[in-house]
């Protein structure tokens, strides 16, 4: 079953610095909250393909739990030498009913 993007999850259910993995149209996507804002990225590190679920978030940066690559949640850009490939990001907004709305390609 495919979950529709705009009834996915209530914004209020995610706390700051938390990650929530969802499957949307067959894609494994990670929803994150940092400094009060919501972000969505591919749930797969561009370094060695580890899932990013549970990665620590600090100051808009999500760290891969396996080897520690840090990604800027705003742009997907990595920091450091382990990978130069950015993480794919998806626009997120909070709909009027309080649910998060993701725009997939």
């Amino acid at each position: 079953m495919t979950t529709t993007a705009d009834t996915l999850i209530a914004a209020i259910d995610i706390t700051d610095n938390q990650t929530v993995a969802v499957t949307l149209e067959g894609k494994n996507i990670l929803i994150c909250k940092a400094n009060g804002d919501y972000y969505a990225v591919d749930n797969q590190c561009t370094h060695q393909r580890a899932e990013l679920t549970g990665g620590r978030i600090r100051n808009c940066y999500l760290a891969c739990p396996l080897h520690g690559v840090r990604f800027d949640l705003r742009t997907g850009m990595p920091k450091g030498e382990l990978t130069r490939v950015p993480l794919k990001t998806y626009p997120v907004s909070v709909a009027e009913d309080g649910n998060l709305h993701l725009e997939l390609d």
């Binding site: 620590r56 739990p65 396996l66 080897h67 520690g68 920091k79 450091g80 030498e81 382990l82």
Partner: protein, 460 residues
Amino acid sequence: MSELIKVKQQGEERCEGVSYQDLLNDEKIDVPAYLREDTNPYMGDDDISVDRWISRDFHDQEKEKLWPKVWQMTCREEDIPEIGDHHIYEIVDQSIIVTRTGENEFKGFINSCLHRGRILRDNDGHADEFVCPFHGATWDINGNFKGIPCKWDFSHLDEKDMNLPQVKIGTWGGFIFINFDANCIPLDDYLSPLPEHFSRFPLHDYYKGAHVQRVVQCNWKVGAEAFMESFHTLETHSEILTFTGDANSQYDTFGDHVSRSVTPMGIPSPHLPDVTEAETMRDILELSGRMATDSAEGHEMPEGLTARTYVAETNREMFSDIIGEPLDHATKSELEDAILYMLFPNTQVWTGYHGNIVYRFLPNGDDHNSCIFETMILLRYEKGTKRPDPAEKNILRPDQAFSEAPEIGGLGPVFDQDDSNMAAVQKGMIASRKGAVSLASYQESRIRHLHQTIDKYLNA
């Protein structure tokens, strides 16, 4: 007159201006003993060869005999606040994973996989365990070996110690120090008398409000020395002379590892005869970058007060408001003077109640002609409130000016003036036909002290 007495007199020459100890006599508050220390044993006046700043050989000696033996500051405890957080500390060609392993416990691991040698962690961050990105050999955050894929192929490792090698580690003032030498002297002994002198400034309770880093094209010691004497103020920072006691600064050495300069502020330089109290007050507020306010607007010198007293009292009031506790016990000197300690070999810390500057000079990897210059500003926060998160390090590009880092305020333009000398000193030393530098007996004595201690390590 015997030779000995003549030598002693040479070492005791001082500027004719008011001395720092004279200024302490004007304090209305009990002066703590550490400020009354006035200790500068004469160390000689011989020229010093430029080799120790510019030669590869000297750098290699430091690599072999200095850095493996000294306690060195790696980061702040607040930089790695949670268990599993770690900072990668690199010195010359060595790499250490400085890790928080408990609420108040830290460990330092050699950052090298015991399988094929790849560095285990590439960046600062957080880990529940250290998994080598190459083949997946894994250690817990205490350095205990947890295994490697295809264990059947490694039965020959069963008898070997596969736990991560560690370095010595210790903390003071919220800083984490490491030492590669298993037989080093205890950190407390190494630091002495720093903890005692900082007892009024509990730096572990301060937070890092700014952290700026840039590569400078000079040997790390040239960088450090730019902040070890106030003699250069006259030529390099002439705009601050109206409020800076440059030539009448006091210089102290304490054992091998600690030295201090005290530069009185809120008084004009002995080089400037005709400065009014109002000018001193205006300029120190506008230009120093270290006072409670950075504008003289609305400040009028009250009749009968000196600028030194007026600015100290302004700082007392504003700092007290910021930190939420009275500073009745603080001397004027502690409220405004530049009291700067060096901890051998490369860390410098200012005293102060709010806005303590920290400098560190690291060799830039294995290059002896450049260094990494870092400035942190440690701040107090209101008592009873949550400690603010530490500032992220702002790494400036080599072509950027320090004044492009707004978080260090008035210090930026001052550093830019120092920066205009640092790379130029390195270049000039290389070009020097004299092949040596000559130091002022007193005002540059801390530089001689630094080199005498380096020699003790290299000759040990």
